[in-house]
């Protein structure tokens, strides 16, 4: 797609930091060893501490044990290969590209829970799209949180982009509608809509999100073309229900995995991919507008397990 300069090294660098913080990478751990029960336990520990969750972990470990029993693997490096393949398969997705309209205006809706990193992520996507030559309009539909509109406005100024904003307390669906209008009349390529953070358990706010989606769909058939759920990489098991309810409300088409530059490994996306088949499309790796990359499952898995392959 050529939109995001996928410098594989950056994501690896940040995930390497993760490994340093956690001690021995699995690659070193398994290298020349035979696959004893103790080693399997260590693998289990690693998967669990990467937030894969007990359900997914138990499944993978079971498969590993079965493969060993069947004689398909017997050394540590076999196990490592098995794991890498297994996790990559679980993250497999034919097309990770952002979705655009065939012609004319494309609308992207960005949603997520409070503090997951939506506004920063919007700025990052906007910058990448803008750099790749598309004209971008921002819409600040977070009319609830104090300072939210101002936050996106500052980003718009920094990136030299136009912004449509609602007054605090305004109906976000109306803001989205107006923004779509403006985007059409200005003939821009992409409209990026930032929404207020909401917990998936707040039924009313989730319905509000559905309304935003419906309003856009009514205005432009096929819109919103891309619906991204911004997920905090530090999130635990609750993220599965989170993704499930957001998917129900607005038919999420992809995940933006934010804050992957910390020590969290974001293993929850594997469980989410398993359960809901929502692909991770982009990852956020810092606080500037440039800190975004296309999600690369190979790098992600290899870095997570500590396998160096260049």
């Amino acid at each position: 797609m050529g939109l995001f300069t996928a410098t594989v090294s950056a994501i690896r660098r940040s995930l390497t930091r993760t490994r340093e913080a956690l001690g021995t990478p699995l690659g070193d751990l398994l290298g020349g060893r035979s696959l004893s029960d103790a080693v399997v336990d260590e693998i289990e520990t690693l998967l669990l501490s990467a937030d894969l969750g007990p359900t997914a972990t138990t499944l993978i470990i079971q498969e590993l044990r079965e493969a060993r029993r069947a004689g398909r693997i017997d050394s540590g490096s076999d196990a490592l290969e098995f794991l890498t393949d297994e996790l990559k398969t679980r993250l497999a997705c034919p097309d990770r590209g952002l979705l655009f309209a065939d012609s004319g205006l494309s609308i992207m809706l960005i949603a997520g829970i409070n503090g997951s990193g939506k506004t920063t992520s919007v700025a990052k996507i906007a910058k990448s799209l803008h750099t790749s030559g598309r004209s971008v309009l921002l819409a600040a539909a977070d009319t609830f949180r104090a300072g939210a509109v101002a936050q996106l406005e500052i980003w718009a100024r920094r990136l030299d982009l136009d912004i449509i904003k609602g007054a605090r307390g305004a109906d976000p669906a109306a803001v989205a509608f107006d923004a779509a209008d403006a985007a059409l009349s200005r003939g821009v390529d992409v409209l990026l809509i930032d929404t207020a953070g909401r917990l998936h358990t707040q039924a009313n706010l989730m319905r509000q999100l559905t309304k935003i989606r419906n309003v856009l769909a009514k205005k432009i058939p096929g819109a919103p073309h891309e619906v991204l759920l911004v997920l905090d990489a530090t999130a635990g098991q609750n993220a599965i229900i989170q993704a499930q309810l957001f998917k129900q409300a607005i038919d999420v088409t992809g995940i933006f995995l934010a804050k992957l530059d910390g020590t969290a490994k974001g293993g929850i996306v594997i469980a989410i991919h398993d359960a809901l088949d929502i692909p991770v499309k982009l990852v956020g790796l810092g606080e500037t507008a440039d800190d975004v990359e296309i999600f690369d499952p190979d790098t992600f898995v290899e870095a997570m397990l500590g396998v160096e392959k260049s």
């Binding site: 990467a50 503090g115 990193g117 009313n204 530090t234 910390g262």
Partner: protein
Amino acid sequence: MFEALSQRITDTFRNLAGRGRISQDNVREAMDEVRTALLEADVHLQVVTQFCEEVAQDAVGRAVTKSLKPSEEMIAIVHQRLVQLMGPVDSHIMLVEPPPTVLMLCGLQGAGKTTTCAKLAAYLKKSGRSVMVAAVDLQRPAAVEQLAVLTSEVERDAPGAGSIHFYAEPDKCAEYGRVTGVAVGVSRRALAEARRLKVDALILDTAGRLHINDELMAELGAINAALRPQQIFLVVDAMVGQDAVNSARVFHERLAIDGIILCKFDSDTRGGAALSVKQVTGAPIKFVGIGEKFDQLQEFHPQRMAGRILGMGDVVSLVEKVREEVSEQEATHIAQRMAEGRLTMDDFLTQLGSVRRMGPMKQLLGLLPGAGSALKNIEVDEKQLDRLEGIVHSMTAGERRDVKTLNKSRVKRIARGSGTTPADVNKLTRQFQMMQKMTRQMASAGVGGPLKSIGELSRTDSTRMPGVQNMPTLRAGGSTRTVSVKQRYKQRKKK
């Protein structure tokens, strides 16, 4: 998604011989279940392992109290231990003489620091303290504006006699990142201003940062060295996973955390991170944030937290949710109607509305202990509830007051009006009449046991046994008929 732990442990023990005493073998199996439950709740792996070892040691050979099954005893041990580890409760904010007391909030990006700042200011205002809130987050765009707006809302709307002040240097944002020590300078001048105004407390809202960002962690260290805050609180997202331990450890090593504030607790997270962070820092969990409004800051209750982490539901939270949504007036009105046996369709509509405001039915059911397993296969169809509302809306005012006036042609009209069938309408009215009868029976019985049970539950929080078997059964007036889920809710809500 989660089966209640109690159910699984009960199953474990059912499959094993040796009832009456907890043996080494059945403990091991039960601890496997406990381990999974804790991991599902996002408690850190190492904490889980240690916890399970300790509990197992404690449990083996312990004679089972006469009234309890081994499974219940086991759950009680696990529950007790969790409560012990997460306690003691300490929601006190220590204020020093001479003022000001400096409170510093820190944490990862998006944890909830700025919102919590406003909540703490409101909390102190309520106790009559004067507070200054200082915006030291110069990094995130518009963080200063956000805090300014929140602070002015607290000043204007929050109850209490305390005065609220705000300190910020918005023009310094441009300098931030280019010159070092900008945030330290702002903090220093905020303290000077706080001294000049003689406020009781100064709350510092710092920028969110990653624990591995040395530069930014050093900045926090510098603010700490310059102002010597009396209390440093780590703000933690209740939904965070295994990594909670890594960040909490570093923040604690750098700053010696005095307390933890858990945010976004109004989600359905089981919040195991609370236990991890408590274990790593040893600092008490001071408050939990349960919403975006400035009064949604609560004291921490280890009892409830333990139930929640174990996936055993959280009855107290459910009761509180009900209280929050149903206004006092509404509740009194309906209680009175019920006592008189004069419940109408309009009351039904109001009740249904307030239950639905609390969120999807399935999620509400999840708060009930044991409901996880008992109801896991029940799909609550929210559309069905829409239809019920539609039926009532299609009735005339007179019909709503007295469903007995309904005849065949009226039923047909209502069905047409609500897009349902006459059978649907009849079903609803039949159920409604049944309910009416029940409430009348209860009213004549002097509004007895079942109604009280919810109140009792919340009162006896600290002594509540975690076993499912001890949950109150809601039966009306001695009838043994099992009431429907919906009706059960109505009864719960009456209190």
